[in-house]
């Protein structure tokens, strides 16, 4: 995973993740994600995969250890630098698709520097919506869309940010094969083209291996994280 020539986008050293120091969920001795890399996290339910993502996004404080995201502490991440797609998406259900995607575009640093930023944000959002096959639903309230369409809206919102790091929690669930291919193509094209990093939680190990450069397996064979011992991430060999 390591590349001497590049600065990692995500760097964790001796990091303990969880909500309670007496019951940590995940312990990571060393983890680095470099620009253009795709890393998939897999493991049983309730093991701490989502908490790992939320910690990197700066939403949960680590119990101890060192975390740097884009060269900064997660609590100081710059606007739009990290795109996080939660498992339950976190969309504004009563607002339109465009409104949701515009929220992401507003944090896009490249667009906000432009003089006509609001126009640029809108155009960029419409383009992203179109690329994910949702142009007919642009003005539709999100609550009226199917589960799969809502998932695409969340992806469009994140892509419209032009983030350096995308974190997606089971973002391919509820999608059919054709849509999975379209969504994956869009997101992987973005990652390769803009040298961003992608960290995904994926239950389907074969799909995780297919899309990711590296696979992180969090597993100690115990399902309930709140009663188990500290566990470690096993880093599988590169594909």
């Amino acid at each position: 995973m390591e590349d001497e020539n590049k600065t990692p986008i995500v760097q964790l050293k001796d990091t303990v993740i969880g909500f309670n120091s007496s019951k940590p969920l995940v312990e990571i001795t060393n983890m680095e994600i470099f620009p253009g890399e795709v890393v998939a996290v897999t493991g049983p339910s309730g093991i701490g995969k989502t908490t790992l993502l939320r910690t990197i996004a700066g939403l949960v404080k680590p119990i101890s250890g060192y975390i740097q995201v884009c060269g900064r502490n997660p609590s100081q991440i710059q606007r739009g630098e990290v795109g996080y797609i939660p498992q339950r998406l976190g969309l504004v259900r009563h607002a339109s698709v465009l409104h949701n995607v515009l929220l992401g575009a507003k944090t896009n640093q490249k667009l906000s520097n432009s003089y006509f930023s609001s126009k640029a944000e809108k155009n960029h959002s419409l383009k992203t919506i179109n690329s994910l096959g949702l142009s007919e639903k642009t003005h539709e309230p999100v609550r009226r869309l199917s589960g799969g369409q809502q998932r695409r809206v969340a992806i469009a919102r994140t892509l419209s940010q032009s983030p350096s790091l995308i974190m997606a929690d089971e973002f391919l669930s509820e999608l059919d094969e054709k849509t999975i291919n379209m969504v994956l193509r869009e997101i992987l094209d973005y990652v390769r083209a803009s040298k961003a990093a992608l960290l995904v939680v994926e239950h389907d190990v074969s799909r995780a291996k297919e899309m990711a450069d590296h696979l992180l397996v969090i597993d100690d064979g115990r399902v309930n994280p709140f009663i188990s011992e500290t566990r470690t991430i096993l880093l599988e060999a590169e594909k």
Partner: protein
């Protein structure tokens, strides 16, 4: 099944037991209830019913100069209810404009504890006096008339609506908020772009509920001289003309029903139920307003 699963039922049951205990302490003579039904029938048949609809006839003075078909607009009922509706509408709009930013600041899921504590203190102070006491206060300050009513009900609306709003804001899912925070949206952007639209159904129904509340309370504050239909109700109560009072109350009841209908239609824009129902003329207009006129207007004014 744990206590928590059935908490509402258990709390209701415990509340009922405490109430039975308390009412037993409060009431000294249960026998007084026995004659109440008889008193009610006498009161209705001899004083209240039938309503005296002369209240919708034009007043003798000033002379009504409108077209005869519309001469009801010169009646005390019309003048009173229109004034009450105006007072209630203005107070609700002013109150909600002030209360929404305060509610956003009072919500603990959006702000540090110390900010929400200070704002909650202000809202509690506005709410601690009933609107009739605020009305008396403003009648003393600025004299009789609708302006006292507007000031009194605006302050009460801020306190009451602010509490309803911050409680419903605190009830929204944390996931959209987390998504907004992780994107780096500011607190203002999260409030405007996530919290308000996500909570639109509750916020609109609370504002309309508050309007309805203010219409009903507008009748009460009129009694202390703060304008509206309450002035006439108070007048006829003093003269023991209950048949006219009941006519006014029926008019208020009809107005409240109309507001309730508007509330249901307005809220249907923000619910799944509303999506599946056929559009009424009213909801079509509101939809046109919300999806076309309002965004275009905002776009026009927000252009750089």
């Amino acid at each position: 099944m744990s206590f928590r699963d059935n908490a509402v039922i258990w709390f209701s049951f415990i509340g009922l037991l405490i109430s039975v205990f308390l009412i037993n302490n409060l009431v000294d003579d249960w026998g007084r209830l026995s004659g109440s039904w008889n008193n009610l029938t006498i009161f209705i048949s001899e004083s209240l019913w039938p309503p005296n609809w002369s209240v919708i006839e034009p007043q003798a003075y000033p002379v009504c100069t409108v077209y005869p078909l519309f001469d009801f607009t010169c009646s005390t009922a019309w003048i009173g209810i229109i004034e009450t509706l105006k007072i209630a509408f203005i107070s609700t709009i002013f109150g909600s404009i002030i209360s929404l930013p305060l509610a956003l600041l009072a919500a603990r899921n959006l702000n540090p504890r110390w900010i929400s504590f200070i704002v909650r203190f202000i809202l509690a102070a506005a709410r601690s006096l009933p609107s009739i006491i605020w009305a008396i206060f403003f009648v003393i300050l600025v004299g009789f008339g609708p302006i006292s009513g507007i000031l009194a009900m605006t302050i009460y609306t801020v306190g009451y609506l602010g509490k309803l709003q911050y409680e419903s804001i605190e009830g929204i899912s944390s996931i959209p908020l987390e998504a907004g925070k992780s994107m780096g949206l500011s607190r203002y952007e999260i409030s405007k772009g996530i919290v308000i639209p996500e909570n639109a159904n509750d916020l609109i129904s609370q504002i309309i509920f508050m309007f309805e509340y203010n219409v009903r309370h507008g009748t009460v504050i009129g009694i202390v001289g703060a304008g509206g239909i309450g002035y006439y109700i108070n007048l006829y109560l003093k003269f023991l003309q209950y048949d006219k009072v009941i006519a006014y109350l029926i008019i208020i009841f009809i107005v409240v029903l109309i507001i309730d209908f508007i509330s249901i239609s307005a809220r249907s824009l923000f619910t799944e139920e509303g999506d599946s129902n056929a559009d009424s003329i009213f909801t079509s207009f509101l939809k046109l307003w919300k999806e076309t006129i309002l965004p275009q207007g905002l776009l026009f004014f927000s252009r750089k």
